[in-house]
């Protein structure tokens, strides 16, 4: 079972999700390091990539709509006072991820942690078939 991945801008991602009548989106973030040119030097900087994906299981082949944004951590992440409650119990909040989360929720979408990839989509479709038929 082939699964196609379509990269989109956030605006087009929301449009595709709406048109396909998808109600669940997976949202995650990954931290990496990258050497960057700063002036005449190369320095290692921390990066964060925020990724939103939605699985459209109706068409053949199935499609994963994907939006992602990557930038330096210092611009993507902030720290807020921890309350020990809620979605970020440690009080550390990926600011950009939280903003995207709010946009997705405001669109009426259900948002879970994670990312759809061809492998996870195929595993899910196989397990769905065994349960639902």
């Amino acid at each position: 079972m082939a699964v196609k991945v379509e990269d989109k801008s956030l605006k087009d991602f929301l449009k595709a999700v709406k048109e396909a009548d998808i109600r669940r989106v997976l949202l995650t973030d990954y931290a990496t390091v990258e050497p960057k040119h700063e002036g005449g030097a190369v320095v290692l900087v921390g990066m964060v990539q925020v990724v939103a994906t939605a699985l459209d299981r109706k068409p053949a082949p199935k499609v994963i709509y994907r939006w992602s944004e990557k930038d330096e951590s210092e611009r993507m992440v902030t720290i807020t006072a921890g309350t020990g409650r809620g979605r970020n119990p440690g009080g550390r909040l990926a600011a950009r991820k939280e903003q995207v989360f709010q946009v997705l929720r405001e669109e009426g979408l259900e948002v879970d942690e994670g990312e759809w990839t061809p492998a996870t989509a195929e595993a899910y479709m196989a397990s769905r078939k065994s349960i639902v038929g």
């Binding site: 990954y30 030097a41 320095v43 290692l44 595993a123």
Partner: protein, 242 residues
């Protein structure tokens, strides 16, 4: 006023970093004379990382098991969020964690040679392969010594990638995020986006800075990470593999 305060913390953390560098240099001195002291190497790296971790995180050695109870290879250092995730069980300093905990793992080698490099690459690939999204596990290889010529590291890495491709087992997300060789001042950084590549740099600053940058960024502690000095590299990469 704010800038003055920020300067105070920057100076404080620069001095802490200098302390970490001296500790690693002292350990290298011992390891150079007793190259079999693998546990010393692990203990020192864990101690250095622990000193920079906010209390939310903790480290141990151990295993990660998947839903079918299949364990990963034994991992020298696993850093995990102890407030959000509970180990399945713990015995002294060995923990067993389930998949899905988004851990940070470090494979420590006192001396890196062909055999120990391949072993370290396999050990890092092991917990990554267990996850639905391998990027949820950040993996680092930290070696105190090894490969006097960087070309030897390049040759062995190239051979490893070729072997994986031949077996049909090549997944760039299963490779270490960075490989550090302290004595040679070499750091290899893996990039997945937009395309896979592994690029090696000669560092101008001690290699432990790259390790701590990766750890603190990986654990999403940018407020601390931004106070640390940024690891500085020679502008021209030593080599790049794709």
């Amino acid at each position: 006023m704010m800038n003055k305060k920020k300067d105070l913390f920057t100076t404080y953390w620069q001095m802490r970093m200098a302390g970490a560098e001296r500790r690693m240099a002292a350990a290298l001195e011992l390891i150079s004379h007793k190259p079999t002291r693998g546990t010393l190497a692990e203990d020192v790296v864990r101690e250095i990382i622990d000193a920079f971790l906010p209390g939310q995180w903790t480290s141990a050695s151990g295993f990660i098991v998947d839903a079918k109870q299949r364990p990963s290879d034994q991992l020298d250092i696993i850093i995990y969020d102890q407030l959000a995730r509970t180990p399945l069980y713990r015995d002294e300093n060995v923990v067993v964690l389930p998949t899905g905990t988004r851990p940070f793992v470090v494979e420590v080698k006192s001396v890196l040679n062909k055999v120990s490099l391949f072993e370290a690459l396999d050990n890092i690939a092991s917990p990554k392969a267990q996850e639905a999204t391998p990027r949820d596990v950040i993996g680092v290889v930290y070696a105190f010594r090894g490969f006097k010529q960087w070309q030897t590291l390049q040759t062995h890495l190239k051979a490893h990638l070729r072997k994986l491709r031949k077996k049909g087992a090549f997944d760039p997300a299963h490779l270490p995020d960075i490989i550090c060789v302290q004595e040679q001042n070499v750091v290899v950084v893996r990039d997945l986006d937009p395309d896979f590549k592994m690029t090696a740099y000669a560092t101008k600053t001690p290699v432990v800075q790259s390790l701590l940058t990766q750890v603190l960024n990986g654990l999403r502690v940018p407020a601390l990470y931004s106070l640390l000095p940024k690891p500085d590299y020679e502008p021209n990469p030593l080599f790049s593999l794709a």
